[in-house]
Amino acid sequence: MKTLDLISSAASNTFRSKTRTILTVLAIFVGAFTLTITNGLGTGINRYIDDTVTSIGAEDVMTVTVTPDADSGFGGGSGPTEYDPAAVAGGGFGPGEGGTVVALTPDDLDTLATIDGVLDVEATKSISPDWVQYGDGTQYVTSIGGLVSGQTVQLAAGAAPATDASRLELNLPVSYVEPLGFADADAAIGETITIAITDAERTQHLVEATVVGVAEESIAAPGAGGLVVNAALTDSLYETQNIGIPTDQQERYAQASIRFDPSTSSEEITALKERLSNAGFTGTTVADQLGTVKTVIDAIVLVLNAFAVIALLAASFGIVNTLFMSVQERTREIGLMKAMGMGSGKVFGLFSLEAVFIGFLGSAIGVGIGMIVGTSISSLLSGAILADLPGLTLIAFDPLSISVIILVVMAIAFLAGTLPAARAARADPVESLRYE
């Protein structure tokens, strides 16, 4: 029998007992559908994270902190941590957030600059403002972050704060626009807002700055969802905050940013981290920080996929059952085909192809409907509860993983079909023809 004839015979045989085939296909459909949705979820979220990393444009920036000694911090031994006068409260994005970290001194910054592969070092000045206010409006607690060189802001209106301007400029996140009392994002541009900050002597100072842009919020936005300020404003706020601190104590930074060659490969980045770590520092890229998010998402998707695969395994027993019944019913036909000179291999092929075809039907329909449902769910959600995360397609599909799903289901179906197919292949023509 020719292969093409074998395939078309197998396909038409599946429709001989329609109800049975449809039920089996339905069971596979459920598994394939679930697999499509869960995979789409992983693809969608991870794609969003990747897009975010790219749009920030800070692939060549690494955040550096001093690696804490093994016995300090939470990781070390039990008991209270010894007081370290060199420690400062950590701020911003990075390890040690909320706790204390060992501060970077100007000496450390010099050391960093000499490390091979480091193009540029910039200390991150951590600023803790009290509140922000527009006119006589309500005062809101906020956080402040600067733009690391090379970083870009996804803007809803206006422009990013000019790095080299002497004017005090900032960007507001979209979510601040209405609470502060602006009609819309465009209305905020060019307005002056007030930032309150307390110095070391507990005196509160007011600093005024101009809104030049409104930034979209995203999980990795510069300034971590707070105000994004330019260098001039950073310096001004930092000086105000440090009033009353002895000069030799002023230059203490929780972290610094270093820049490296944008063409650096990931192996070279690893090597750079190695060198930093040898010098007593810890380097983290934006991709690293989001990498942990991705790992968590991958793990969740993996668990969900496991459920889908369990559904598929249950469905594969359906295939086994369907085919055993089919082999039973067609005992005589098998005997006759063998008597007419059909080899056992072809008989095996005929029945296992039937299983594969059932698997194909179930997975193709499951994947098709899964894609339609997934697409409509994500477009519904992106207009509603996910409206704050523009650009996020919750459930997205890429052709590779879709074809992998179909192939995996077909492979499972094939495996399920081998048992009944082997029985058919072993059938003795004489016994089959005597079978009543």
């Binding site: 007419m340 059909m342 023809l433």
Partner: protein, 232 residues
């Protein structure tokens, strides 16, 4: 004389083992020449079907040899065995063994599908065979919807579509009334006479047996009478 198309030498066939062992054939020896029509006659359980299965290479004898055109069939394995089955034999069974929900045409094309013949040629040859049996108008019908006689004619069309050398017919008229049975018999003997196809019929029916060139009586697994030998 030419080599016989089938030569059977001291064939034994037993089923089961030990105390359950049953000898269905207890040593049969005979030759069949090309173009003969032969009836294998005997009571129920005498071993007729068993002998036919051995002759048609569906079952291997427990001992003894079956030669097909001088070739010991125990040497045929896998592909060669399947080729010999496909090219040499056609089968007509009492219970028809048609695929119920497939069309008559599909059923008749099955042996050629197995042989790997192109679809267009399959169709041509199947229609020609149905033509020969006056069944062309039923080609598109489902096999399940045919009368007994029509079913048996479809089966005969399927048996001869691959131009076999030998047609085996196990009780070909067993499920048919006398009139239809006579028609089917005529068709089979006609194939034998006109096309030189060797015909081996397994039957209880003395009348059908009487129409054959040669009658072999089987009792309890032994060949008791062979009309050729009697005549010789």
């Amino acid at each position: 004389m030419n080599t016989p198309i089938i030569r059977v030498t001291d064939v034994h066939k037993s089923y089961g083992r030990g105390p359950n062992r049953f000898d269905a054939l207890k040593g049969v020896t005979f030759d069949i020449n090309e173009g003969e029509s032969i009836a294998i006659i005997g009571k129920s359980g005498s071993g007729k079907s068993t002998l036919m299965h051995v002759l048609a290479l569906l079952d291997a004898p427990t001992s003894g040899t079956v030669e097909l055109e001088g070739v010991d069939t125990s040497t045929l394995k896998g592909k060669n065995l399947n080729r010999a089955r496909n090219k040499t034999f056609g089968f007509v069974f009492q219970q028809f063994f048609l695929t119920a929900n497939a069309s008559v045409l599909e059923n008749v094309m099955l042996p050629m599908k197995i042989a790997g013949i192109r679809r267009s040629e399959r169709k041509l040859r199947a229609l020609a065979a149905l033509e020969q049996l006056e069944m062309v108008d039923k080609a598109k019908n489902k096999a399940i919807n045919l009368s007994g006689g029509q079913k048996q004619r479809s089966v005969i069309a399927r048996a001869l579509v691959n131009n076999p050398r030998i047609i085996f017919a196990d009780e070909p008229t067993g499920n048919l009334d006398t009139v239809t049975g006579a028609v089917v018999e005529d068709i089979l003997f006609n194939l034998n006479r006109e096309h030189g196809i060797t015909l081996i019929v397994v039957t209880h029916d003395e009348e059908l047996a009487a129409r054959c060139d040669r009658r072999m009586y089987i009792r309890d697994g032994l060949l008791v009478t062979d009309t050729t030998e009697v005549a010789a």
